[in-house]
Subunit: 365 residues, 2 copies
């Protein structure tokens, strides 16, 4: 009976169906029937009709009318991919909400929404080009296909792009090459001779840059080709499977750069089960996007962890765009570096690897 493409039911239809005015219907549906003195029987008939007809209120109409004048609502959104690590999404959300919480005043209210697209398919996201949804958005975790689409599309609202440079848009990204290069240097300084990098199959601009810079640096400094291990996903068990397979083929690995911290978790488990000690037998460098790196055993050296910093930059930029103020075309974020036990270079000869001794931590710029 319910046609797939019938215009939505409005209160007019309900009113007509019941034989009353829209005012009565509205009063009932807003639970104002007592003060508006609608007879109980009528209330019941209206309610039933609404249910039978499948009424769904139109929030736009409702809001347009009922909104206390002098209060404007600003709708912001974070656009991210389903495949992105959840903690990153949570972080971005939290940062934006917190900013919004501060900015909110009596006459301006902010709302934060999340929109998710399937990695590489942002073009298929319905409503993306509609001007009637958001005042501004932050876009993150895009794949190259998505970037290409965004470069050509004209979004009808201000947007800040995270992790990717797109001409004509305001972008916040990791200082190019930095993470890959520093990771490679740290492994080389740890004395690694057979370094490897592990990454997920889907590469964002940021992770691709990390991998490329890592490989280039290793090549330049050691004249050898680093091993590249591709994991089918970012979950620890995927990483573990990929690394296990790599090792079982007899490829030696004495240094690993994991482009995402969840990959490092999987790697730790594999090395442990293979009886390879960190950092004595193998050094590991990861990314510190969540607070966990410090609590790995041994504590994980991290380069990057720029997500939080990037979001922190992006939010004020978005607000400036909303106010129509000029913004820099791009902001580069240099991530902090934390040297921890996982790459501690063992003192020559003395293979004493007491973890708690000599904890030093440095933040490099």
């Amino acid at each position: 009976m319910k046609s797939a493409n019938r215009p939505p039911v409005t209160i007019y239809e309900i009113a007509h169906h019941v034989g009353v005015s829209t005012a009565a219907v509205s009063s009932v549906l807003a639970n104002r029937h007592v003060e508006r003195r609608i007879a109980p029987a009528t209330v019941e008939r209206i309610r039933r009709a609404a249910h039978v007809l499948g009424y769904v209120p139109n929030m736009a109409g409702r809001r347009l009318r009922s909104q206390r004048t002098a209060t404007r609502q600003i709708d912001l959104a974070i656009l991210t991919s389903f495949e992105a690590p959840l903690p990153l999404v949570g972080q971005a959300l939290h940062a934006l909400q917190r900013a919004v919480d501060v900015q909110s005043t009596a006459d301006t209210r902010y709302a934060v929404a999340i929109e998710m697209f399937h990695a590489g398919l942002i073009r298929e996201k319905t409503g993306l080009l509609d001007a009637d949804r958001y005042h501004g958005v932050i876009i993150t975790n895009t794949l190259p296909e998505d970037d290409r689409f965004l470069a050509e599309a004209t979004l009808p609202y201000p947007a800040v792009i995270l992790g990717r440079r797109i001409a004509g848009r305001c972008c916040v990204l990791e200082a190019p090459e930095f993470v890959g290069r520093r990771s490679a240097e740290i492994l080389i300084e740890s004395g690694c001779r057979a370094p490897a990098v592990i990454h997920g199959r889907l590469l964002t601009h940021t992770t691709a840059d990390r991998v490329a810079a890592f490989c280039r640096t290793i090549r330049e400094r050691t004249r050898r080709e680093p091993a590249v291990i591709v994991s089918d996903g970012l979950q620890p068990h995927r990483a573990a499977a990929a690394l296990e397979q790599h090792c079982s083929r007899g490829h030696p690995v004495d240094g690993l750069f994991a482009v995402t911290d969840s990959l490092a978790i999987g790697a730790y488990r594999v090395f442990r089960s293979l009886g390879r000690r960190i950092p004595t037998d193998v050094a590991v460098v990861g990314v510190g996007d969540h607070e966990l790196a410090e609590f790995f055993d041994p504590a994980l050296t991290t380069v990057a962890g720029a997500n939080e910093a990037m979001v922190a930059e992006a939010v004020p930029l978005l607000f400036r765009l909303l106010r129509g103020e000029p913004v820099p075309p791009e902001v580069l974020v240099v991530p902090p570096v934390f040297l921890r036990e996982s790459t501690r270079r063992p003192r020559p000869r003395v293979s004493n690897s007491k973890a708690s001794a000599a904890r030093r931590r440095r933040a490099a710029r």
Copy 2:
């Protein structure tokens, strides 16, 4: 000049200011001025006026008009606290978005928003009682103060409550007592004689229930009082500080139940630095809300991890509420139990703690 409480600028004001019609203004602001043949000079004047007056488009008005008829938009939200663990928020979001992604059709579009309140202060969240924002919400991570408010308030939209039973509302929660009791039993079976529980200072209904049931079970079975360690926050370093302090006071602990997995991470570090081996010297039971527990060293035994399961239950319930279908007043979720190395009872006498040996894992219902 800009009064704090002036009604928002509309296109009428811009039109009046510039001396043109609203049609012209609308055309320009929607970037339709070329096809609508507005003179470049006029375009410029309108743009300038919009900027000077501080125009912010009213999305409700825009949407009401431009929305392709036959497409209805359904706005859903997740209400959670700022203080809640981010991964849980990300999980809920992901589950809802995924459900919504499946449900979306040509004539129905869903939007998912996040609203955050400060723990215990949901009553101060502006717009919470407005009927003009959401078609339905999922509320989670509430403190008792919030619960009390929700019990009295009449929300003008359907809501599913996570983790708390509130009369007259549709609730999804952990089977009461289960997590605390099972955790206690596991520790007792591991041979613990001085069990403790660690939790954050702010207790949701769920975590309070876990702590209470744990303490009761320990008391009943061992005739002793378990130690209760209170951490100032849920972050690992907070947990570490609280546990360290507890141990430094000479309180023995040979079994720990961490009501949140981030607390377990901090505990691991403390035990390690104190030279106490897990599970030989101390057994640890945690909660498996993210995928990490398996990758702890040694792998963490988890009871609960019900968040994902709860969200999975909540989403279909919300959709049923939206359709006006009857729903059960409450749904109990019995969380899975994973016995891992952190509570393996060492074989009597043989203090061989090789982690990789004899891996067994059981899922209990």
